[in-house]
Every structure is written in structure tokens, then in C-alpha cells.
Amino acid sequence: MKERILEVRGLNVDYGAGPGSVRAVRDVDLTLHRGEVLGLAGESGSGKSTLAYGMTRLLPPPGVVASGEVLYHLQDGTTVDLLRIRDAELRRLRWSEIAIVFQGAINSLNPVQRISTQLVDVIKAHSPKTSPRARQDRARELLELVGIAADRLHSYPHQLSGGMRQRVMIAMALALDPRVVVMDEPTTALDVVVQRQILRTLVDLRERLGFSVVFITHDLSLLVEFSDRIAIMYAGQVVEEAASADLYRSPLHPYSDGLLRSFPALKGEKRELTGIPGSPPDLRSMPAGCAFHPRCPRALDVCGDRVPLLGQSRDGRSVACWLHPVAVG
């Protein structure tokens, strides 16, 4: 078993408080190992981004983490719960341990500051003793790392293309050599060619620098290629988690199966593209039993009554589905 670096335990995230609140993430358990790429996939509104913001304490109001813990294993062997440490300590860990590449690359950069300022200020905030000269050199080096000419260092964000801005954001994420990089739909706003180039860069960088990645996307085809393990989310819950090869070859949950049948395979046998009929449930009035059963082509009687729990099925894979009852309990 590889070394664990980040563990999410029983995380619940609500929007709003009291009787009008909506639970956007329920009982999520996730483990990220060292050097691993963990993919997080699901439709829009399935809670992927909320999960990412919730575990890093960046959730904007009215979002609140209702319960759970996020354990981070530091290099010196100690473990901290990100949801409970003091603000100052959290600020110290942010970016130096866990960096984030956000969904909207276009708006992730401060429009009134030069790229150089924004690259340098994070270095300055975390290691104030470095010289301005060293910080500039590091910024230059970071840009070259993601394939941007160093002379763009003093550009303003609006002078760069969308793809370049996303590269800058990736460069910024790597500024402090973090051990974990969370990527929230990093390529969504870009065209397919640029998407490819950026993913290529990411794969190379990860191999060279060895950080772990939590990769969030609605594009399962990307994950199958890029990640080691995939967790599928539906209506705020993880419904299946497996090594990406296993998931691709034999998805256990009908929802994973539906997602996989939503895009054509490049290699191998031709499959029929079916998609998933219906739309995700309204989080304010969730169906009884399994949240997916109204859309499920293989629903059993029990699915409408009881909620299936995520657990190890007989062949050792994690799935929350009555078609694959959990081995124990």
C-alpha cells in the first residue's frame, strides 16, 4: 500500500443553514496517495467542486462544512485536520502543501496586476526571506516550466490567451513545490487542441515533480486516460471508486456505465452511445433509497427503499449499489 497523503472522512457540506439548507456533499470518504492522480467525475451539480472547496476551506458563503474531517499527512509524519487547524496555520499550509488550479482560468488572475506580481507575491508570502531577485528568477523558471516564454512575465492577464492564462495558473500552483495539486476542471473553458497540450504538460510535470493530483472534471474520457484511480460522484455522494483501467473495462455502478457510454471509445470495440436518460435529482427533494434509482435502467425493488452504502463489493472494489451488495454488513 502506498503512503497516504490526504484523507477525507465522512465529509458533509451544506448550502445554507437550518431547515432550508441543501446537502450538496454527503458522507464522502476519499483517500489520495502519494504521487497518485485521483479523478473525480460526475455531472454538473454532483458536488465535485463543492467537495474540493469544502476540503480546502475555501467554500464561499452560504456553503458550510457540516461535519467530517480532512486529514493531511505532513512530510514530518504528523497529521493535521485541515478543517480544524487555526487560520494562521492553514494559511501557511495553503499553496505550500496544497495548491489549486481553479475552474475559470480566465478569471483566476487579478486583472490589474502583472503576471510577475502574482507569481512573486505567493513566494514572498510563504518565504519572506528570499531576495526579490531570486523570486523573479523563480517566476521566470516557472513560466518556462509550463512552456511560456519568460518575456511574458511582465504581461497583464488580458494580454494573454485563455490557454496561456491556464498555463500561468498551473505555473503558479507549482510555485512552492506543493505535494498536492487540486485541479477543478482546469481545461473546461479551452478548445480541444489547447486542452490536449495542457494535459500533456501536466502529465510531464507530474512525472518530473511527483506531486499528487485531485483532478475534477465532468469529462470521464479525460480521466480514463490521465488518472490512476477514479471516483464517480452522483448527487453529492461517491457511488463508485476504482482503478481507472478497471472502471473503464467493467464499471459496476449503472451510473458509471452510463457515463462511459456517453462518449465514443478511440480504440477497441465500438460501443453504442446511449447517455443517461433523465436529469440529476433536485437536492432539496432527494428520492428515497438510492438517489440514482429513478434514472437507473437496472433498478431493483430494494433501490427505492434503502440507501446503498459505499463499501467493498465481493471482488474488492468500492461501489454503492444494490446490484453489488457489500461484502460485510
Binding site: 494559511r91 501557511r92 507575491d121
Partner: protein, 326 residues
Amino acid sequence: MSYLLKRFGFYLLTAWAAVTINFFVPRMIPGDPVQALITKQRGQMTSESVRSLYVLFGLDKDESLASQYFSYLGQLLRGDLGLSFTFFPTPVAEVIGDGLPWTVGLVGITTVIGFLLGTAAGAVVGWRRGTWADSLIPVTTFVSSIPYFWLGLVAIALLTGPGSFFPASGAYAIGLVPNWDWQFIGSTVQHALLPAFTILVSSVSGWILSMRNMMVTVSSDDYVTVAHAKGLPERRVMLAYAARNALLPNVSGFALALGFIVGGTLLVEIVFSYPGLGLQLFQAVGAKDYPLLQGIFLIITLSVLLANLLADVAYLALDPRTRREG
């Protein structure tokens, strides 16, 4: 740079249009200033002096409208705005020169202070939304809706009177001669306190409201979240990321406010009998003093244009997106 030149050309054109309108409108009004002056002197004028008045006001009938217009432009360029009726025979330029420093000193300084205070407070209140700071909002909304001249009247009624520190009217104690000694400066400050306070109270709340709302909007922008995620010190996120961007729309509001310094606080000057441009405008309207009215309108127009030009420059300095290459 070419952008700024273009703007400058535009303002020059606008200034010319304003000057032209300023020339033609009074000439379309039935009657003329000389008639008004004759009435004022109860007809006790020789026909000689009446004719010389016509020449003096540039209204001698022999000249065509076009040549009048060009000689008017020529006079303007030399800073000659004609003669005032109410302060006859003082030139309008001199009358305005007397009033302008008081208005700019009182209203100008309070406008700048109000903007700085209000914007700083609004940034803090907006940043701390959801805390006790939110309770300031209903108060500022209420205060900003109070007309400042009414506030001035209340201040005069409550705070001035025999034996009070605050004088009720004027810009300095009667009997003092304006010069740069401490006694005069002290008296000026003492007289400016109440009017400045009334302007400040109502303008500060306006700035707080607009800055606070922009801060709330900007705080949910992605780059602010990124700044938090980067673990930057809270102060830096608030100032360099949120407030810096929230400030931009307020800058144009501030430029407009600067433009209205001259014309906008007429009522405060009337309430406090403050000898600025506003009070002069009020007197000029009452006395049908067309040259003075024209002169003051010209100053108001030019100051609005100048303020807009300043706003353009400020925008170029603050927002790199407005800078065009080449």
C-alpha cells in the same frame, strides 16, 4: 497615449460647444443686459453711457452676430468674461476669482476627504460582510438620503448662536483682512467646520455604500478565491486583490463629484452664507446678472470636463485593460 490625445481632443470639442451655447443662449432671450441695467439704475443714464454700455457688453448693434461671436471667443481666450452687473463695474473674472478659492477650498477638500474616508470604510465593511459591520449599512443608507442643506439648517439651529464656538455664517470673522497669518487661517477653519461637516456626513455614507457593494461583488470573484488559496496574508488579499478592483467603478463617481464641486453645493453655501461660487450664482440669478451667470456656467462646464479628463487619466493609471498598445 493616442487614446488620451483622442480624449483630450474630444473634451476640447465639448468645451468649444459649451462656450458656443453659452454665447448664443443669452442672446436668444428677449431683452438684453443693458436694458436690465438701465432698469436697475432707474433710467438715470445718458444716452452716451447707454451706448458705451452696449459696446462694453459687446452688444453694439452695428456688429454682426458672427463678428460678435469671434470677438467673444477672443475675449474668453484672454480670460475676459465681461463686467458683472451686481458688482458693477467689477469684471466677472475678478468676481469669480474671489469666490472660486472659497468653494474649491471648502467643497473641494471635503469632497476628497469624503471620498477617501468613505471608500476606506466601505472597503472594510464590505470585506467583513456578515459580521457586526453590516449593521452600519442601514445607518449609512439613512444618512446618505438626508439632504445636506437640511442637515446644515439643523446644525445651525442646534450648534450656533450667541457664545457658541461655531459661527453661523461667513467664511472668516468680520473685521479680519484676508492674508496668510494664523489668526485669519484659524478663523477660516473655524468657519468651515460646520459646512464641511454637513457635506462630509452625507457624502461619506454614499461612498461607503457604493464601495461596500463593489467589495461584496468582487469578493466572490475567482481571483480573490485564488488569493485566499495562495495563503496570502488577509491584508494583501483585501487591499491588492479585492479593494484594488472594487475601487475602479468608484473612480468615475469620484470624478463626477469633483466636477460638481463648483455647481453642486449651492445650497450649503446659501445656508451658511459662505462667499463661494454657489452663493454668487444665487445672487446672480436674483439680480439677472447675465455676464456673471454666463461666467459661472462656463466655469462649471469646464470643471466637469476637467474632472472627466482626470477620470480618464486615473483609469489609465489604475486599470491596465484600458491601455491600448501602440
